[in-house]
Symmetry: D2
Subunit: 363 residues, 4 copies
Amino acid sequence: MVSYRCADCGSSRIGDGSRPTKRQMTSNRLSVAVVGCGYWGPNLIRNFADNPRSCVTWLVDRDPARLHRLAERYPAARRATELDDALQDPGLGAVAIATPVSTHFALAARCLRAGKHVLLEKPMARTVVECDELIRLAREGNLTLLVDHTFIYTGAVRKIKELIAAQELGDIYYFDSVRVNLGLFQHDVNVVWDLAPHDLSIMDNVLPQRPHQLAAHGACHVAGSRMENIAYLALKFADDTLAHFHVNWLAPAKIRRIIIGGSKRMLVYDDLSPDEKIKIYDRGLKMKNEADPRQFLAEYRIGDLYVPNVDSTEALKREADHFLDCIQLGVSPESDGAAGRRVVRILEAAQESLERNGVLVDL
Amino acid sequence: MVSYRCADCGSSRIGDGSRPTKRQMTSNRLSVAVVGCGYWGPNLIRNFADNPRSCVTWLVDRDPARLHRLAERYPAARRATELDDALQDPGLGAVAIATPVSTHFALAARCLRAGKHVLLEKPMARTVVECDELIRLAREGNLTLLVDHTFIYTGAVRKIKELIAAQELGDIYYFDSVRVNLGLFQHDVNVVWDLAPHDLSIMDNVLPQRPHQLAAHGACHVAGSRMENIAYLALKFADDTLAHFHVNWLAPAKIRRIIIGGSKRMLVYDDLSPDEKIKIYDRGLKMKNEADPRQFLAEYRIGDLYVPNVDSTEALKREADHFLDCIQLGVSPESDGAAGRRVVRILEAAQESLERNGVLVDL
Amino acid sequence: MVSYRCADCGSSRIGDGSRPTKRQMTSNRLSVAVVGCGYWGPNLIRNFADNPRSCVTWLVDRDPARLHRLAERYPAARRATELDDALQDPGLGAVAIATPVSTHFALAARCLRAGKHVLLEKPMARTVVECDELIRLAREGNLTLLVDHTFIYTGAVRKIKELIAAQELGDIYYFDSVRVNLGLFQHDVNVVWDLAPHDLSIMDNVLPQRPHQLAAHGACHVAGSRMENIAYLALKFADDTLAHFHVNWLAPAKIRRIIIGGSKRMLVYDDLSPDEKIKIYDRGLKMKNEADPRQFLAEYRIGDLYVPNVDSTEALKREADHFLDCIQLGVSPESDGAAGRRVVRILEAAQESLERNGVLVDL
Amino acid sequence: MVSYRCADCGSSRIGDGSRPTKRQMTSNRLSVAVVGCGYWGPNLIRNFADNPRSCVTWLVDRDPARLHRLAERYPAARRATELDDALQDPGLGAVAIATPVSTHFALAARCLRAGKHVLLEKPMARTVVECDELIRLAREGNLTLLVDHTFIYTGAVRKIKELIAAQELGDIYYFDSVRVNLGLFQHDVNVVWDLAPHDLSIMDNVLPQRPHQLAAHGACHVAGSRMENIAYLALKFADDTLAHFHVNWLAPAKIRRIIIGGSKRMLVYDDLSPDEKIKIYDRGLKMKNEADPRQFLAEYRIGDLYVPNVDSTEALKREADHFLDCIQLGVSPESDGAAGRRVVRILEAAQESLERNGVLVDL
């Protein structure tokens, strides 16, 4: 542990020193620009500012008033209403983008072309074509491209992934997700694009299989809007696995719950529970040997219930650390462009199914 | 209030006396046969036995051991393994049928042809063709045909119906139902036919609109079975109303919850809550006047929450009373053959959609 | 397994035959009289009637209307408004008493003097003097005297006892009980005598230590009544164990919860939870070695949470079986007269403390 | 609304301008020093820093490392390890003190003698003698002395106070509080001094009556400590009102719940519920007219349940505003020295009762 002064932000801190980065850095700490300082951006700013291996050197937003307010807390960061001002800074190492999805592709492409690593808000882009291009740019520039699938960095989802990988649940039968609340209507995306990426990225991360077909049903209840505020997605897999997602901006009470059924055990993940986020039920089917066709084919088995203690580290802190590791050690992000693309492909297909009255779309 | 002796069961009780029935009765009390004495039958027996306007004179079941056990509690009732033995009894006024769905049509048709009123377990039959024939037989025989949609006789559902009818929720936006638990697998019907009739009959009873299209997705996870143990039904209406049903025999924990979203208020009906079955949320959308396309179109409004006290009378007690009223006063049952047929039509369509991989089926 | 006909009730059943009893029985089944057929009595009747080793031959109650109603269900049982009519029956083996506490002593003493085994509703009697006399009568008559501490026969309490006996919780620090609801006011006993016996008998059963001092605080809010409707009992032990009981007839919502803190683990028993009655928390203190007086002495440790599956056999069924075992095998009841007396001693002391404004009373 | 520059902290903001203060201020904003920057202090700093009518000009703490860390966020505030450095600043208007209780009297007295307004952490002091002296100093100096009874500034407690004042609950029968969790053991105070002030200050604020006697029972389970980690307080009033407090540092799960029983309605305040903090039950007693001594004296009445929407403004924000109002308008704080003294008197009495094995102490 050594004390040092950051060449960019000028702060003097006690950190773990500078590990060599895969790219030439002008400073001990990775210099980060945050683009989009509205709802989510301040969380990115705080986490890169608090991380001893990075500092926030640029705040970029179209709205000068927002920048002005943030400047009180982060006086050392430069402010810009245009991304290019930041990109021209040769000391800038990475850009974290938290803008509306319609701008993701253009902004991320400019950053990658300027040789900057990118942390990109989910969903990654509007189309898989855009995703493919961003993946190509990152690969060719030898740059890290991490999609901000925040939930996969929570202690709860990591625990679920670990349990499934260790075959604790057995074969996965279904993945049922409900994410509903009284949410703010957005003018540019429907509820699927707004809420489903959370749960789709969790499914993508924890399940070993990939879905291959999808149908979506939804409705719009806001006069004058054509954006669905409620939707249901059914995803089919090559085997008998079934995944289902209920997203809803117009529910009276908040529910954020995923049920995963397996051949050995079943699991409920309630993100709103302060102490019992994951419940593992040692319950399931018990086959009967009887061949009597008038009898039931199967009966159930009830064992104990187990609530593992879950690491409560802030997901974004872990994600920021992982982003810095990827840049410095050259490893691939857990939520890389390919994961981002898979989620966008599902969103694209859901959109098509919604528009065609629930038709089944191949993924 | 007069004391009298029942001509059929011989018991002497203090009751509300004999009201004239629309059909010629041989006794003060309606004489009822219960067919099918397995899981649900004993509840029918108890309710008709305890009702001062009826008595149970016949217990009919294929299994003599079952009949033997029941005889200890109801020694005055005659026992039969064949329905026809009971139907030949000229004093018998009505038959309550609680057998597997595949037998409903044949049994109910025989009862109606024998001039007996019928209370028929849900789902009413396997097909709408069967339903139509039963409706015709009842109409021609001037007989009461009541389908046992038990839930619509609960205090909770009656309260919901009353709230919707009084426009307390405003226009209905969606009806979202989840009924999942670790249930016994059945050999003859899938989870849709087993669980969905409860919620479909509730929807049919409380909503003013009728669905006109349906898609269903499901899966089967029991080796050797072809019966779905998990399924999702999406129902579309002529307007923007959307209804959705999740039924699941393989869920680790029990959930029985219906959310109804309306333009004025929203409601959660949790059947498992002992004290707070219905929560009415004074929450919803608040439109903004601003035309700025960069702003949200709508924002939400949060008011108080209200939990009405709900009548806890046993649903089947109320239903038995209603059945007797229908017979004696000639009124039409709240859950009549037409209601039973509408539920069966949805089940039929769901079956077709499941078999054709989620295709949209017209209702 | 043999089929046989009971000499007393005349029923023919398939049972496990007759094991020899410690007393001379006139029949294959123990013939039981139930005295007091109000709220709790019918549960005793049902359990002894359903048990293949016993039959209910006498129903005794002051109220002929009650007896009349029960006769419909149990036509073979004789009815009496006076206990002595039943006691004169030489075939009667045992009496289950479910009358108000003020009558317990007189009724139980008469039964014991008549040579009948006794199952006696809790609390056992009004005073320890009465308890001592009943214990003496049972011992001298070589008769079984079981106090109906129903809760100790539940799967949940048996599991708790097992966990504590196996040192799974470590040393017991405290036992905190809350039993509150909107209850019916009784004219003859206060809330302590009505509700606390449940929790006191649980504590008596599961804890290895015995309390040696008590203080009680309460209040009465019913005009014209002098019976407390809310009370708090604090019980002290020779070591640092502390037990506390909150009983309340005037609480808006029902709570039935016991928290047991131990040096290794802690436990919450929520009797109202359908699926998670017992939660075992692997949480507690972790001592620090630091001697710095400005630092905390201890910090906490958080591990997993475990919800054991609990046997759901009806407590009274298990208790009736145990009563029959005690009679036939001569073993001592788990809730014997001594246990009943310990609970009464605490109630007596609580009464004294309430009357003397919370003074500490030795047990 | 005018833009102005603060003379002390130098920041330029848009605020509601400068209202005249009752004391001569050197600036537009009240200049505040925060003493004690550990657990709670940073919340005071943030609230006075964010309030447009105040600025934080001094951070005082014994620990230079803490001051160093805070300086990154509040670079404009001066730092001191000695309070007197701040008190010598003639521009300083008020001091917020968040240090251990043993230091409250000495620090607050110095501030008041130096002519500074004081916001003092709860409990106000160790003894009522200390409280009386602080009250005297404030009165003589014409200074505001506000005790930080944070909870009384929450939307929930304000709603409760309003309901009781409007006689919505009728006469108050009891006030039952449980505040338990797995808490950090403190070396200088027991669990009563640590947790009970929250609930005692709520009771003091919402109830119209004052308690006049107290008994406390507790135990210590930490080897080598003599500080109680669990305690029960029973408080008696001149009428039949009863208040009771359970505080516990060694509970496996967090409970923060107050039940208030009244003659008309009852209320449950669950501070941990995100959406349903206050439930108002229209339940209670219904008197019977029958004089039959064998019947119940009273039976219960069950009506609807109502969950008012509660203002979610941060309590400390409202309290800081109120503190500034008191200073500028000369009004008396809602949590003034007298309220602080009443809470301390109860703590003192509880301590005495604990030490004398639960003896009843007059208040």
